[in-house]
Each structure stands twice: as C-alpha cells, then as structure tokens.
C-alpha cells in the first residue's frame, strides 16, 4: 500500500473513544504530538457539536420518542440509534435503551458476542444489538465524522484509506482481538493495525520525549504502565535493555483483564451519598441519580485537590419546576471519600496480597464479570507477583537471577488526574520494593492512547523507537490424554503450547508434536487456553496438567469438510501464525499443501465454515 497522507490513531475505549492523527503534509518538529480530531456528534435532540471524545454509548430511541430529525447527523439520514454524548446523558435516564460498556462485552467469553443482547436485560421491544455491532457502530461513527470533514469527494483522504492504528486493552486475548478487528471491518476499516493501550500511552510519552527519553530512563529500568480507564484496569511492563550500545524497549508482560475503572469509583461514591439521603427519607429518581453521580464526581475532585476540606457540597436541583424549594442539599464527606475511594480502591497492602474473590459491593451491573475486589493496589501486587518468577529468567544477559524492580511508572486514564491516587500507587510500590519510583509525566491522561497510537503509526514509518512486543501471552490447545477411561472422571487435559510468549508479528511456525487423526466431515473441538505468567514454555511443549495459571478461552472448532472423501481419519498437524495485524491464527495442515483448515472460535455459530486452503 502507498503511504497514506494521514497516520491515524483510534482509541476505542470502554467509556470514551478518541481519534488523533498526524498529517504528513504538515511539517512536524521533534516532540510534536498528534492532533486530536474533534468528533461531530449529537449532544442533545437536534444539536450536533464537535467534541474531543465520543462517549462509547449508543442510544436506541423508542418509537416516536424524539421529535423528527432530532438524531439526524450532517452526513446522513436519521438512524434508529445514536452514539455519543446525547446517548450518554439522555441514555442514563432511560437505561433499558442504552448500550454501554460494549467493549467489556466484547471480551466476555460467557456470551456469544454475535448475539443481539445489548442493552443487557432490556425488554423485547428494544431492537437489541450485538457487542460486535456496537463496536462497529462506534467505529463507523468515527469514520463518518472523519469522512464528512476530510473525505468529501476525495478518495485519498477518506479514513478507510489511511494508515490506522486501533488500540485495545493489553489484556484482550486473541479472540477479543479478532472480534475487535471484525467490528472494524464491519465499519469499513479493514486496513489497520492493532496496538495495546498501555503501549500506546507509552508511545505518547516517547513522542513527547523523542529527544531526551534516553536521559530519563536507563538500561535495566522496568517501566510499569498503569492504565485505569472508565471501565477497565490494565497493567503492562516495559523493559529498557541495552543492545549493541543502544537502548531498546521490550514489552515484558501484560496483566489480566480487570473490569474495574473510574466509573465504578464515581458510582460507589454516589451510592454512598444516596444511602445517606435514603436514611434521611429522601429518595432519588433516575434523573436525580444521574445528577448525583455528576455532583459526586465534582465534589470528589474538589476534595482530592484540597486536602484541608472536611467535605464538599453536593447539590441536586429539584426535579420539577420548583427548582429551588425542592433542591436536595447534602455533603460528600472526606471520611467517605477516604473510605470508599482511597482505601476502597487504593488500599495499602502487602506485596503478597491477592485480590479477594468474593463479590464486592452492590454497585455492580449483572452480566459483566466485574472484578470482585475493587482494590487496584491488590490487583497490582498480584500482577507483579505473577511476573516475578518468569522475570528472573528473562532479563539479564546471562540469565542470572534478577529481581523484578519497577523503576518508573507511567499513569494513564482520567482517574489519575488526582495526584493523591497516583501517590497511593507510588507509596505501595515503594513499600514493596524498598525504594522510590520515578514518575513519567503524562500530560494527556484522557487522550494519550489515541495520540500514542498515531505516534506508533509514525514509528512504523521509521520515525522513532519501537517497543518490541510479540505475543503478550502464551497459548495452549488442550490435548485429551490417552489412557483407560475411569467412570465419573473425564480424561485429563494436557495443554500443548501452540504460541510461545513473545512470538513476533508476521511470523509462523509448525507446532512440533505428534500428528492428530481428525475425522472428516465432523466437527472437531479444541479447548483453548492462555497464560500471561508462563513465559518460558516453548512451541510444542506439553504441560503435565492444567494449572491455575492457565485461563480457558472459547473453544476452537474445526469443521473438516473434505471433498471427495466420505469418511475416515485424516492425519494433520498444527501450524501457528501471528499475522501482521497481531492476530493469532491456528491452522491444521494435512499431508498435502491443499489440505489446510483454519481453526475458528466456536462462538461464531452463524459464520461457521471451513476456510479453503
């Protein structure tokens, strides 16, 4: 493909989407950051405005609910859905018609993500959409807004013809990655690359410090990226290593998917205040509850930035026309913020703490596997503990035992606008490691991911240093072991490593192991696992047992329709490939070149078909 004019970064977030770009026709100085594209969207009925972020909410209006033309965008006819600011504000008062957190649903393997199931738990009269469709609608909106601005009648500036980097959580497994790509494809964006969000945030920092980063981080440093977004918490470790006299960056590890974010915090505070109001006999309706969450967020920010205040006022204006006389006035006390937010979400804890497993407070929405333990510090301790073991063998030129020491932290996500919460993390890390941690300043907590993604597009063109990544986790296929069947006990599963940690993009390999005999014209299922802590298993290694450090992903399925052959066994072996985009493909190869079948996730019932070789 010829080099496109724009290099575009898209952050498809759980609560907000952003788009940033570099224009190759403009000269840029070192340290220049990507420009934010302002996204036109419906902000209230009939009013379309440009905003830096597109809230990742989609509203599905009822029949005749809104005046005609109220949801019409400048680039097309009125649709039966509306993404963005209006969806977020109006939708929170009509929850059964609001699609939210679609991204978290995209990686929820407990449901079929092609099923029309959002909004979750809403009644049948609402025309529901699938998590994949929701992702596609948001991306389509971004594309339409871009094309309305840049692409009018000009093929070469349309979004689908630009070099696009789409970000996703580092914790997304291969299936969630594939579904994200599928959503992009449905939105007409098929020419793109994927990048992990914490890496994107780091690229944004690197872009700003393209001249002096080597003076800020040094050989042997380990950088921890903590990305607490609206709905998810994501950790990554990046190592600074020396190679032939220059510094290189390696993504060392990524964390598990933790459904816990800034929105939980505001919601938890609002529930705390509403409990207090409830005790005094005041009940809030949906609109007031929405106002309360807003008011609590403002009060929280006041309290976090002014440590001397004992409390901050929370005012909810009267719902009816009597706005003053039915105003509800209360306060958010510092004590509550300390207890719920600071100690609830950022509790001091030991190095060896593991997150609690039991169900947490009552602010959870049913359906999504929210983290049971709200303690972000505990999740962090757990993540670092998991990494410790494999790290000893990974870093150091002579594979000497080396302790995992985080030397620098890059915070990302709106939550960390509060330096008090940053301090909590730093204190915990300093306590565990016995020394102070350097903070890499992030000036754009909300926009760094989109900007960093655009920066990465720049890096791909050879401008700047690239973080080496490869597969962020190890993948296994479950092999049913042979042996006598014991009634009541299923045969033990032995995991076979099909993708070793760090396997690079654009590479492929045969899995060295015995052949399988596969029955023709029948469906073969493979159990599929991943691990983000076992980093030393090599391709083809077979583990003795299924340990706790392996997580099961949706099973893989192969429908072997062989023409000309009626039945019988076909000998096959596994072939693994990580394509350019960073998506894993598993293939079964037969004896001849023509016999080639791709393993698909079984969840895609509707699209089940063999891929011809």
């Amino acid at each position: 493909m010829e080099k496109s004019r724009f290099m575009v970064g898209i952050d498809l977030g759980t609560t907000n989407c952003g788009l940033a770009y570099f224009d190759s026709q403009e000269s840029s100085s070192p340290g220049a950051i990507a420009k934010d594209f302002e996204i036109e969207q419906i902000v209230q009925p009939g009013v379309c405005e440009k905003r830096k972020l597109l809230p990742s909410f989609i509203y599905l209006p009822g029949k005749g609910e809104l005046p005609q033309g109220a949801l019409k965008l400048p680039w097309g006819a009125e649709k039966q859905f509306s993404p963005g600011e209006f969806a977020k504000t109006h939708g929170s008062t009509v929850p059964s018609r609001l699609v939210s957190s679609a991204k978290s649903w995209l990686c929820n393997s407990g449901v079929n993500r092609h099923d029309s199931l959002l909004p979750w738990k809403s009644k049948d009269d609402v025309k529901k959409i699938s998590p994949v469709e929701a992702g596609a609608l948001l991306l389509k909106h971004l594309a339409d807004a871009w094309n309305h601005h840049w692409g009018k009648g000009k093929e070469e500036t349309r979004l689908e013809n630009q070099e696009i980097i789409l970000t996703l959580p580092a914790s997304f497994d291969t299936e969630a990655r594939e579904l994200t790509l599928l959503a992009a494809k449905e939105a007409g964006l098929s020419n793109l690359h994927l990048l992990e969000e914490p890496q994107a945030a780091f690229y944004s920092w690197l872009g700003r410090h393209s001249e002096d980063w080597r003076e800020i981080v040094h050989e042997g440093d380990v950088i921890l990226v903590i990305d607490v977004g609206g709905g998810t918490t994501d950790f990554s470790l990046i190592g600074v290593e020396g190679e032939k006299g220059s510094l290189v960056l390696n993504r060392l590890a990524v964390g598990q998917h933790i459904l816990l974010g800034g929105d939980n915090m505001d919601l938890a505070l609002a529930h705390e205040v509403s409990k207090k109001l409830g005790a005094a006999g005041t009940r809030l309706d949906l609109v007031q509850m929405f106002q309360l969450v807003h008011a609590c967020r403002t009060a929280k920010e006041t309290l976090l930035s002014q440590p001397d205040l004992p409390g901050a006022p929370v005012t909810i204006l009267g719902r009816g026309a009597k706005v003053i006389s039915s105003t509800i006035k209360t306060t958010l006390d510092r004590v509550a913020v300390e207890a719920v937010l600071v100690n609830g979400f950022f509790p001091p804890c030991n190095k060896d703490t593991a997150p609690q497993e039991q169900t947490g407070a009552g602010f959870q929405e049913i359906g999504l596997p929210f983290a049971a333990d709200p303690g972000i510090t505990r999740h962090l301790a757990n993540f670092l503990n998991q990494q410790e073991e494999s790290f000893q063998e990974k870093v150091g030129d002579k594979k000497e035992k080396k302790k995992l020491r985080v030397t620098s932290v890059l915070f990302n996500g709106g939550v960390f606008k509060s330096t008090l919460l940053q301090k909590r993390i730093l204190e915990a890390l300093a306590g565990w490691q016995g020394r102070e941690i350097q903070v890499l300043e992030n000036l754009d907590l909300d926009l760094a991911v989109a900007r960093g993604a655009a920066e990465f597009a720049n890096v791909r063109r050879g401008k700047g240093v690239r973080i080496r990544g490869g597969a962020p986790r190890t993948y296994y296929v479950g092999i049913e072991s042979t042996g006598p069947a014991i009634p009541g006990f299923p045969r033990p599963i032995k995991p076979l490593c099909v993708v070793p940690f760090g396997m690079e993009e654009g590479t492929e390999a045969d899995v060295p192991c015995q052949e399988f005999g596969l029955l023709v014209n029948a469906t073969a299922r493979f159990r599929f696992f991943s691990s983000n802590s076992r980093k030393n298993d090599t391709l083809g290694a077979i583990l003795d047992e299924l340990g706790d450090d392996l997580h099961e992903i949706t099973p893989l399925e192969l429908n072997l329709e062989s023409q000309g052959k009626s039945s019988g066994l076909v000998p096959v072996f596994l072939h693994t490939k990580i394509n350019d985009v960073g998506v894993l493909e598993l293939w079964c190869h037969g004896k001849t070149a023509k016999q080639k079948w791709k393993l698909e996730f079984t969840i895609r019932e509707a699209k089940k078909k063999p891929v011809p070789g």
Binding site: V47, P67, Q68, T315, L317, K322, I324, S325, T327
Partner: protein, 185 residues
C-alpha cells in the same frame, strides 16, 4: 444571533443581580425591566405594552433561554417564588445554577471586556468614540476628549459557538419540555 447573545448575557447578569440582592425579587423585577429595555431599545414603559415579536425572532429569542434552562435550570429558577424558601436552600440552589449557567456561557461564548483598564480607573473618551459601545453619564459638555472614570468595563462577545436552532424547536419554540418518568413494571 446577536439578539440572543445579548439576552443570554443579560440573563447571566440577572443571576448575578439576584445573588447580590439575596433573592430580593422586586430588585430583580427592575433588572428584568431594564433588560427588556436594552434589548428592544425602547424605554422601560414597554413592559406594559409589549410589541408582538415575529415568529422567527421568537424562536431565536427563546433558544438560548431554552439552552440555559436545559443546562442550568435558569427559567425554573427565575419563575419560581422563592420568597418562602430558606436562605440555606436558596444559597445551595443558586450556587449550583450559577455554576452551570456560567460554565455554559463560558463554553459557548468568548467574552471579553470592552475596556481592558480596571474599573474605577481614570479613562479618556476620545473623539469619535463608539456610542453603541460606550454610554456616557454624568457631566460632559462640548466635544471629546472627556476625562472620566471607568465604571463598567462592558462585555463583548468575540465569538460564539451557540448551536444552530434545530428544526423541531423552530416549529414549536418553548422554554422547557415537560418530563414524564415511566416506572418499571
């Protein structure tokens, strides 16, 4: 457009006035009268004999009021009888309304003073001053320059991003929509 910027500004001033007057309604009434007189360019007597406004003007006059009501509940506030409400509640409510109205106005309009000098500073009114921007009071004779004191630096709007009036509003302009909540079955 200019008309409703003026009206929005004037309303904002009214809120300020109200805060200053601590809810003293007669004072506010006076302010409203003054406001209308400024907008229509007529004397305060027009209160008793309002001139009917044309339909398109109607929508463009109501639209910023509708937006301020929507964002900050401003019309509810101005229409409410708050004489019996406890000061504490008025204080809390007004602060909230003020903050919301203010951030809306700040976000939608680039507002700057006409004069950059401090209020209370001596100032020279030059020959050819713009009478649509400056109101002279006190004692002046002959032609400028005049030496005076800057009592109010004035406000002008350099740019605004107030959204265009949508069709549905143009067809049926109003101050606030009714709200009905359907309970869960």
């Amino acid at each position: 457009m200019a008309l409703y910027i003026v009206s929005a500004l004037a309303l904002f001033k009214m809120v300020l006035l109200l805060i200053l007057s601590k809810g003293n309604l007669p004072l506010v009434g006076k302010a409203i009268g003054l406001f209308f007189s400024t907008v229509t360019g007529k004397t305060a007597t027009c209160e008793t004999a309002p001139t009917p406004v044309k339909q398109d003007h109607h929508a463009s006059f109501l639209w910023p009021l509708f937006l301020l009501q929507r964002e900050a509940r401003l019309m509810d506030f101005l229409l409410e009888d708050i004489s019996g409400a406890p000061d504490e509640l008025v204080g809390a409510g007004v602060r909230e309304i003020h903050q919301k109205a203010k951030s809306f106005i700040r976000e939608k309009m680039q507002i700057t003073p006409i004069f950059s000098q401090e209020q209370g500073d001596p100032i020279t009114v030059e020959t050819g001053f713009n009478p649509s921007e400056v109101v002279l009071t006190g004692h002046f004779e002959g032609s400028p320059p005049f030496q005076g004191i800057l009592c109010h630096h004035g406000w002008k709007v350099k740019a605004d991003t107030i959204p265009a009036i949508p069709d549905w509003f143009n067809k049926a302009p109003l101050l606030a929509q009714a709200q009905i909540e359907i309970p869960q079955k």
